[in-house]
Amino acid sequence: MSAVTAGETNPTAWRAEIREWLEANLPKDLIGPQKTVAPSELLQRRRAWERILYDGGYAAIHWPEEYGGRGMDAAHRMIFQEEYERASAPPRLNIQGLMLVGPTLMQHGTPDQRERWLEPILRCEQVWCQGFSEPEAGSDLASLRTSARVDGDRYIINGQKIWTSGATYADWMFALVRTNPDAPKHRGISAVLIDMRSPGIVVRPIRQINGRGTFSEVFFDNVEVPLENTIGQMGDGWNVAMGALLLERGIGRRSYVKYLPLLQTLRRLTIAAGSDDDSATLEELGLHVMQVSKYRHHVGRTIAESTNGRFGPEASLNKLFWSEMEAGIYETGMKLHALASAAGAEDEQSDDYPLWEADYWHSRATRIFAGSNQIQRNIIAERVLGMPKEKR
């Protein structure tokens, strides 16, 4: 894609390169929270932004060069992420494609499959969603029921997925389906790629407690999918997905910088509430500074100890840590918003409050999604600390 720049070997130069490029190329109307833009308009802008990233050579710096990436290590990737967040650039639109489907295709896909799907992911021509969870298969994912019956050279898929992020606009779904109802539950599962425009698919957004509808239910009624859309062997979908989930929980998608604007908001609210000399409030602010610092150094340490892109056991604490940290920051913010409002300082705050409240409720969801924090604790206890498995 692009020649090796000086920045690729020198972290300081790399940081400067990203900072400069973002300043020059990030559209001003995409910076920060988008409160008033219509969803369809916002989607269009974000697609356009992904294309700008692609043209600049920054779409997937961690992908190997043979697949159109730049083969950059975790340290460079984290510097990119820090600068991306520092610029308040919008969340990556095709996160499932870039972080989940792409790497999974590189690991398990055939040359034809890579040829067909990788490039459109890079160019953000096809946006992906993930179809794992079902109403009866949450933490116990392997009990999923959506069936894929083989009929000639295609599957006939029936069933339902749920909590699917981005399903309303995704072009493709990376799904786990049951291809063999008679096999032991982990072995009857296959990973298939489903065109979201196939006849028989209905997407229904779920209205959440914060009023948003970012997750959906997806229904399948005799949906036909070619057998050639299977990733890995038929029946090996559990292993394919477990590798994918490790990527989902992994390092590199989030940096401490993302939390600095939230800390700034807490600071502003503390002053508005007249609590800036209250020692209990200062202690609470200090707690959040400590947590964000801990997250920074946890990520830094995980990267320092990684070899050839593989992370050590400490990576297992990533999702548990950031979700609890985030929930705590929003909790303090709710209290300070109320105090500021009671102190009559709400004029200044009223614009921001609805967004903060919606994000507050969302921070409760982070403890549940991507493997609930109780499941994360089981994983740590069993895989890291070697405690005996419970029969499940």
């Binding site: 600071r267 200062l282 200090g286 801990k294 830094g300 089981n378 740590i380 206890a381 498995k389 419970e390």
Partner: protein, 350 residues
């Protein structure tokens, strides 16, 4: 330089060296003995001093090893893990480097070789307004904060009196300075106090993280072997989650003391904040891990005979020394209020 967080060879070799040495020379029997006699184990001190760690952080030209501050963090963790009752952390991280860097030629010549060789025992009471130091009664040399200045005192310039503390093996002593002992001659130069405080804080955090690691290991071992209801209690999720939370608290704290040592050595703008983060997180972890370890052990952990309480008590002493969790969190909160969030003073780029 990209921060290494202890993944480098020097860190690992120094740490495994001390770990192996203390595993052999200061096993559970020796720790238990120290907790029976509560006497200063000078024999062990001489052996540890002979390893040469005392001068780790000063240049080879000054008789040291020329190691960087962050490279001894894992070693100090191993010291905390071992349960040895010695003034090692303050000597390595605070006394020797501070004397080497700030003391006048004569003062330095009179104490530095002895501190490095272990012949002289040192103590440090560097936190503002605190006149307490571990091993004060043994100390030949004392670093003492007084009215925002740092002084280096000799044995005949102060008296001590034993103080009750959670960890009697650390021999906490209250210091009284003899009249006229605080002079311009033994006052250390500008910057010495802030430097000594940062060092004392990250070093205490590193030792405390080692203490917590030991308590976690005891907890997990017990959960794997103790059977109730016909199976190991570690099978139960209620026990697993205590252990997992303890592990997260420790592993998310450890890189903070590494970074604090690094920031302090490099004089980064966030060095003071980093020290506070390190100590507050280590204190948090120690309290959580201590409580959970005792809970998982059940009644046996509440006996004097079981070794868990040695580390719980050392943890409790360290938790509230060198600035408590509350002290450091308020300091961080005040820094944030004063508009330093996202600024170099709290999060310096590296």
């Amino acid at each position: 330089m990209t921060p290494l967080y202890g993944s480098d060879t020097t860190s690992k070799e120094l740490a495994s060296g001390l770990r192996e040495f203390l595993a052999e020379r200061c096993g559970l029997d020796r720790v238990r003995e120290n907790w029976t006699e509560f006497a200063f184990d000078r024999a062990l001190w001489n052996e540890v001093a002979a390893l040469g760690l005392g001068g780790a952080l000063i240049p080879e030209s000054a008789g040291g090893l020329g190691v960087r501050p962050e490279e001894v963090v894992l070693t100090l963790e191993e010291f905390g893990y071992s349960g040895a009752s010695l003034p090692l952390a303050d000597t390595v991280a605070v006394l020797v480097p501070i004397v080497q860097r700030y003391a006048g030629v004569e003062l330095r010549a009179s104490v530095l070789p002895g501190l490095i060789s272990g012949e002289l025992v040192g103590a440090a009471a560097v936190m503002a307004g605190e006149d307490l130091a571990p091993f004060a009664s043994e100390a030949d040399v004392l670093l003492l904060e007084h009215d925002d200045d740092l002084y280096l005192l000799r044995r005949d310039q102060f008296t001590t009196e034993a103080v009750h503390a959670p960890d009697p093996a650390s021999r906490l002593g209250r210091i009284t300075v003899r009249e006229g002992a605080l002079t311009a001659e033994n006052r250390l130069g500008d910057g010495a106090l802030a430097d000594a405080q940062r060092r004392a804080v990250w070093a205490a955090a590193a030792v405390l993280n080692g203490v917590s690691r030991r308590m976690l290991d005891l907890m997990v071992d017990h959960a794997k072997t103790r059977e109730q209801f016909g199976r190991a209690i570690g099978t139960f999720q209620a026990v697993k989650h205590l252990a997992a939370d303890a592990w997260v608290a420790i592993e998310s704290s450890r890189p903070c003391s590494w970074y604090a040592a690094y920031a302090s050595g490099e004089d980064l703008p966030d060095a003071a904040a980093a020290a506070s983060v390190a100590k507050a997180s280590a204190s948090d972890a120690a309290r959580l891990v201590g409580d959970s370890a005792l809970q998982v052990h059940g009644g046996i952990g509440f006996t004097w005979e079981h070794p868990l309480h040695f580390w719980m008590k050392r943890g409790k002493l360290l938790e509230n020394s060198y600035g408590s969790r509350q002290f450091h969190l308020r300091r961080l909160g005040a820094a944030m209020r004063d508009e330093q969030v996202g600024s170099e003073a709290i999060f310096a780029d590296v």
